[in-house]
């Protein structure tokens, strides 16, 4: 790995502060930096004909959706639901015993990750922590959230720990409440989650030590402390809503899923896919930014493994404009590649936000003021942002399908020997990962179908939102022309990335 000679003196203090902030441990190990946290993908590029076919289908089917809405008022306001808790089987699978076991298991996994990181082997393939965090939890839970529902709301081990502590506290100190229970400042909105999310994205995509069990354990501990502090200050419900990144993140993805939990009526309903992404009112600015961060980080993850980035990175490293910044950053980020990645990440995240805003500006311009019902550009942006989620979710599913199925298998040997101590608890410690578990053809076709489907759902959602909120249906359809253009571009970008051979930039 090329390391640009660093000039440490003078900036020591700043560097140290940043180091503490990013929890970069000083015993940094020179491990190869993989994109997306840990391990590698063995995907073949999607062949040209499938790439083109997918692109053509996305465009053609967009017009089918448009035609469907042109034919009349299709502003579905209500959708059919089926309460699973109304059936005996439904009550059984959601009963207190099942919930208890699931929550206990999630808590156990959190403790396992931390302990494995602290006492286990330093080889990421001989320690259960990296696979659990990056493959099973991060990739796998996004699948579960998007396909099944908001399971994280139930499982969240940070919430479990806090609730148990709260319960114990009240038992021993009756008439008192745990924590400060301060009022959550309205102006703060979900900005704490936005900040923590950027940190997480950086750790996942750029941080050179993301696959080091010890370092991983440290950031999990840090994040846990932040979460519990937030809960102590503002109460758990407030912090979960505004500060806990993964409650928000998995919650957003679960809006796509065909289930919903209605707390007031104690219903767990089956519902049509994606209707959770139809907002009743504009999202808050902070949540809008959060959604856009989610969309752009998923795409950036893909871009990092393309030959394009492999060519741009060294060129940027040599350019007079970026090089001083790299020299400044590399002490903090660990190495020059991470520094250049950090710069690219920040630029990409910002450009994505601005691009989206620009398209909302176009939407504003093409929609007559009368039909717009006084909605500003910002309000349009906050209203339509959720409709992009299916495209990101589809890309995530496509991008990680074989990764999850192949690298996920490491859990089998590691379950028997989680710390790399040579144990064999379940007799599976010698299991060899089968790299042939999914064929390339299956992955290609599933990926392209997922992306085209995600695109169609996105176009459909945006049209429904437009027809609901804008006054005349002709204007509503016209407002969707810029949005359609944005969505087609975004989908094309997803397909293009999948058609690129995976390369590692080092």
């Amino acid at each position: 790995m090329p390391t640009v000679a660093g000039r440490r003196c003078g900036r020591a203090l700043v560097t140290q502060a940043l180091r503490a902030l990013l929890v970069l441990v000083t015993c940094a190990m020179p491990i190869t930096a993989w994109a997306h946290g840990f391990a590698e993908r063995y995907d073949l590029p999607v062949p040209l004909h499938l790439y083109m076919g997918g692109a053509a289908a996305a465009v053609a089917l967009s017009f089918v959706v448009v035609a469907y809405f042109v034919r009349g008022d299709r502003t579905v306001r209500r959708y059919p639901t089926f309460n699973v808790l109304g059936t005996a089987a439904g009550r059984l699978i959601t009963g207190p015993v099942v919930r208890f076991v699931l929550r206990l298991f999630a808590l156990f996994m959190l403790v396992l990750v931390v302990v494995a990181g602290l006492i286990g082997d330093s080889d990421p393939f001989n320690n259960i922590a990296p696979t659990t965090v990056w493959v099973i939890w991060w990739v796998g839970f996004a699948y579960i959230s998007g396909m099944l529902g908001d399971l994280w709301a139930l499982l969240n081990p940070w919430r479990t720990v806090y609730e148990v502590t709260e319960w114990l506290y009240v038992r021993f100190k009756p008439n008192r409440r745990l924590g400060l229970n301060m009022n959550y400042p309205r102006g703060l909105a979900s900005w704490p989650a936005v900040v923590l999310f950027v940190w997480f994205i950086w750790a996942e995509l750029i941080w050179p030590n993301s696959d080091s069990p010890a370092d991983l354990s440290q950031i999990v501990i840090t994040y846990s402390l932040i979460t519990w502090s937030g809960m102590l200050v503002f109460g758990s419900a407030n912090w979960l809503r505004h500060g806990e990144v993964f409650t928000i993140l998995f919650g957003l993805l679960a809006r796509f899923a065909p289930t919903e939990y209605v707390a007031e009526r104690r219903e767990w309903n089956l519902r049509p896919w994606a209707v959770g992404l139809l907002p009743d009112k504009p999202m808050s600015v902070s949540l809008t930014v959060f959604v856009l961060l989610m969309l752009s980080s998923v795409t950036f993850d893909g871009l990092l493994a393309t030959p394009l980035w492999a060519e741009i990175a060294p060129w940027l490293l040599m350019s007079d404009l970026v090089r001083p910044l790299v020299l400044l950053l590399q002490d903090v980020t660990g190495d020059a590649i991470a520094a250049i990645g950090t710069i690219a990440l920040v630029v990409f995240l910002l450009v994505f936000q601005l691009l989206y805003l620009a398209f909302c500006g176009l939407m504003y311009v093409v929609t007559p003021a009368r039909a717009r019902v006084n909605l500003s550009v910002g309000e349009l942006a906050r209203l339509f942002v959720l409709s992009l989620v299916p495209i990101a979710l589809a890309y995530h599913l496509a991008h990680y399908l074989s990764f999850l199925l192949i690298v996920g298998q490491y859990m089998i040997p590691m379950a028997s020997d989680p710390f790399g101590f040579g144990w064999d608890l379940f007799g599976t410690s010698l299991y060899m990962v089968n790299i042939g578990v999914v064929g390339a053809k299956f992955v290609w076709i599933t990926s392209v179908i997922a992306i085209v489907t995600g695109h169609i759902v996105a176009v459909w959602l945006a049209h429904v939102v437009a027809l609901r909120r804008l006054r005349d249906s002709g204007a509503a359809l016209r407002s969707q022309i810029p949005m359609l253009f944005l969505m087609v571009s975004y989908t094309m970008l997803s397909l293009w990335i999948l058609a690129q051979p995976v390369v590692e930039t080092s």
Binding site: L44, Y79, K441, T453, E504
Partner: protein, 131 residues
């Protein structure tokens, strides 16, 4: 709304079908190809780089004999298939395997010559395409 639901259901059904067929095909293909003479592929490393195209394309189930030659001692690692070999100058090293799994696998070098740990660098990729 129901459109997106049936669409997804159809997608899953189709995906499951493709999955099933690809599994059974590859098994049959492997047995059949085992009898066929292996394809010989020569790869030369000079100045820490592969001479010519650094992407080696194979077909699923193909029997391959790869002969590696190098101008500096190197330890090679074929990812995924997890094959590790040491190659020295003047001593071509042969590996044979059946390309049983599709995918794109990096071939990395661990420490050229001096063994002072240059980290690892990607030398080539082996791409195994479905039939």
């Amino acid at each position: 709304m129901t459109g997106s639901f049936t669409g997804t259901a159809a997608m899953l059904a189709f995906a499951a079908m493709m999955f099933g067929s690809s599994l059974s095909l590859s098994d049959a293909q492997q047995a059949e190809d085992a009898a066929v003479a292996p394809t010989k592929i020569e790869v030369r490393i000079e100045n820490r780089e592969v001479v010519g195209d650094n992407v080696i394309r194979l077909t699923e189930g193909q029997r391959v004999e790869m002969i590696w030659t190098t101008d500096a001692a190197v330890e090679l690692h074929i990812h995924g298939y997890d094959i590790r070999i040491e190659v020295s100058p003047g001593a071509p090293t042969e590996i044979s395997f059946i390309a049983h799994a599709t995918g794109r696998f990096a071939v990395t070098s661990h420490g050229f010559g001096d063994q002072d740990g240059h980290g690892h660098e990607t030398l080539a990729y082996i791409e195994v395409y479905p039939d």
